[in-house]
């Protein structure tokens, strides 16, 4: 599931965030930052562990960039504290922090060559000439820019400039690398390649990465854990799988890809039966343990979890609805259907096209059954 487990080769080690004895590498405690009374970061607490690739995800204006700038030291917190590797960062300017940042605009110094850009932090550290030269060569090799050392940034493409920014940020071997929307300015092909390269580099160097992004796909593929942020607060913190499969709120469910939401209320005698308000159908779900259910709740079902069939499916705990195909779209690797239930609710279904010809050659306006097992229903109370 997560890379930490894979690395351990299936041994007994658990993810550090699941191990209560593990010492967090970065501790963020009740961090607040207000601008003119408006809270950009509103009481955020978080533990990040050594070697994690942590993503902070949210829409624009949710406070994620401010949080990153608080970690880098460009902003001073209004309240709360940041502890990195046991050292309280309060009052420490950016040039005295063990963090380095890769800026969204890359911020490559235009008047320096590629090599001088990478060497900048090392020279400021007071390293000897020979040592600086060796390290720069090593870093340029890491980002595959050996042949560009003498070029000026304006002679480089956007992707190459980004590598310069990455090499420069890694040069001082920071304890934490902060990345602000690292892939936002790249085109699609380059994004995918850079994404894997980033993960590769992170694996090799073992530096803790904190990535800020608005792109849920980017966060899911890159990160060991994700914090979803909204209005200056964390809505949910968890592994990509946890957040995708077990969102804790409609906001998170909606943020991560397409999802079908059914409003309903739990059956008073059996909380695993939820009566859908819009369709009257009984939706089967695993009841939430130890939680009193509110009168109105929501059931979320991912489109790929729903099965389409011409015959009515049967079975214990299977939710069944009936409707007609209103729209279908063929995407090559998968198809997307929009089914209008008999009660008028629109449901999205996607199915993988694993065979050359779909077993179920559906037509527009064809009557069809929708079904999904109980463990695919996610009950949301907020």
């Amino acid at each position: 599931m997560s890379r930490a487990v894979e690395e351990a080769g299936g041994k007994t080690s658990v993810n550090p965030w699941e191990n209560p004895a593990a010492e967090p590498f970065i501790r963020i405690e009740n961090l607040r930052k207000t601008f003119d009374g408006f809270p950009a970061v509103d009481g955020v607490s978080l533990d990040i562990y050594q070697g994690e690739l942590f993503a902070i995800l949210g829409g624009s204006g949710c406070g994620k960039s401010t949080l990153l700038r608080l970690l880098a030291g460009f902003e001073n917190p209004t309240a709360g504290k940041v502890v990195i590797d046991g050292v309280d960062m309060a009052g420490r300017p950016p040039y005295e922090r063990p963090t380095n940042m890769m800026f969204q605009s890359y911020a490559v110094f235009p008047h320096y060559t590629v090599a001088d850009n990478v060497a900048y932090g090392l020279k400021k550290e007071g390293l000897g000439k020979a040592e600086v030269k060796d390290r720069v060569a090593e870093l340029l090799e890491l980002v595959q820019l050996q042949d560009f050392a003498r070029r000026k940034p304006r002679q480089l493409s956007g992707g190459q400039q980004q590598r310069v920014a990455l090499a420069r940020a890694l040069a001082k071997r920071p304890k934490v690398l902060l990345l602000d929307e690292p892939l936002a300015a790249l085109d699609r092909n380059l994004r995918e390649r850079t994404q894997f390269e980033l993960m590769n580099i992170q694996d090799r160097l073992g530096i803790t990465f904190i990535v800020v992004t608005h792109d849920q796909e980017e966060a899911m593929t890159l990160a060991t854990r994700i914090a979803v942020m909204d209005a200056g607060r964390f809505v949910q913190v968890g592994t990509p799988t946890e957040i995708y499969e077990y969102p804790n709120s409609r906001f998170v469910a909606d943020f991560f890809g397409a999802i079908n939401l059914f409003e309903g209320r739990a059956d008073a005698s059996d909380p695993s039966r939820i009566i859908c308000a819009e369709t009257g159908v009984v939706i089967h779900a695993d009841p939430l343990a130890g939680q009193t259910l509110p009168d109105v709740l929501f059931v979320a079902v991912r489109p790929e979890k729903i099965r389409l069939s011409r015959e009515a499916p049967a079975g214990e705990g299977v939710t069944v609805m009936h409707g007609t195909v209103e729209d279908l779209a063929y995407y090559g690797n998968h198809s997307l259907y929009r089914v209008r239930t008999d009660q008028g609710k629109l449901v999205q279904v996607s199915s993988q096209n694993t065979h050359r010809s779909a077993e179920l050659a559906l037509e527009w306006n064809e009557p069809i059954h929708l079904s999904w097992p109980r463990d695919c229903s996610v009950v949301l109370t907020e």
């Binding site: 460009f74 950016p94 940042m101 800026f103 110094f109 235009p110 900048y120 940034p153 304006r154 420069r168």
Partner: protein, 271 residues
């Protein structure tokens, strides 16, 4: 005829007329500087005698040297002060009185020169009465006066460059271990150097060109070149003024070419 209904001939004549409007007066003046006649408007033959006369005219040579000295000193100091002012406005956050400061900095741009000159004269006179400095009026007072108004021009030019500059560059330098003072020298100054150079040139030209303010704050022993030319023209124009103008046009032409080349080179490295 082209599709938009304007013939190439029409466009070309428009261009010619425009250029003629700008440059014919200057050309006429340069041509007449080689005139042999003592009368400015009667052509009698080619001669370089007025250039010789100019070279021997100590009043004009002295005035030209004084003007150049004042322009050089005031442009340099105005560039230093104007750059500091622009840095304060764009990089020091929202300090108290920032809006007032930036407004007052831009005021000399729109202030009529007569008022600037008169107010500076009154300031100098009362300062002399109060603390005994500046003693009388002369090159120093002209230099100070030129700094006060050309500083505003430098500040505007440099401020525009600083505003357009990506703040992340400075943050990146700090992030990599550079202290704020180092950021100024490593990042900001190299990147605003082209703007500072154009500010310096602007201040230099404004100072060399100024007649009104200099007339207010100059003393008996310090007449700048524009003042000398102006007084000569009032007494009746002599052809050596034409020669002087031709020399100035030549110097300005060379200066603009060099500055253009220098700025293009800096822009290429700083981009």
């Amino acid at each position: 005829m082209r599709r938009d209904g304007r013939s190439p001939t029409f466009l070309f004549s428009c261009l010619c007329f425009g250029f003629a409007f700008l440059y014919v007066p200057i050309l006429v003046m340069i041509v007449y500087s080689f005139n042999d006649s003592r009368l400015v408007s009667v052509w009698t033959g080619f001669s370089l005698r007025w250039y010789g006369a100019l070279w021997e005219n100590e009043q004009i040579i002295d005035a030209a040297l004084l003007s150049l000295r004042i322009a050089f000193v005031s442009a340099t100091l105005a560039t230093a002060l104007g750059t500091l002012a622009a840095l304060a406005i764009t990089r020091m956050g929202r300090f108290r009185g920032r809006a007032l400061f930036s407004g007052m900095l831009a005021a000399p741009l729109v202030m009529p020169e007569v008022i600037t000159g008169l107010s500076l004269l009154m300031l100098f006179v009362s300062l002399e009465g109060a603390i005994g400095w500046p003693l009388g009026r002369g090159a120093d007072t002209i230099t100070i006066a030129h700094i006060t108004f050309s500083m505003a021009y430098v500040a505007v030019v440099v401020q525009a460059r600083l505003t357009a500059m990506d703040r992340a560059l400075e943050e990146a330098a700090m992030d990599l271990g550079c202290r704020p003072m180092g950021v100024t020298f490593d990042i900001i100054l190299p990147l605003i150097a082209p703007a500072m150079l154009s500010g310096w040139l602007l201040a230099f030209t404004l100072s060399l060109d100024d007649l009104v303010i200099a007339s207010f704050v100059s003393g008996p022993e310090s007449s700048t070149l524009p003042m000398v030319i102006y007084s000569k023209v009032r007494l009746g124009i002599t052809p050596d003024v034409n020669a002087l103008a031709a020399v100035i046009v030549a110097i300005v032409g060379i200066g603009v070419a060099v500055a253009g080349w220098l700025m293009a080179r800096m822009a290429r490295t700083a981009a």
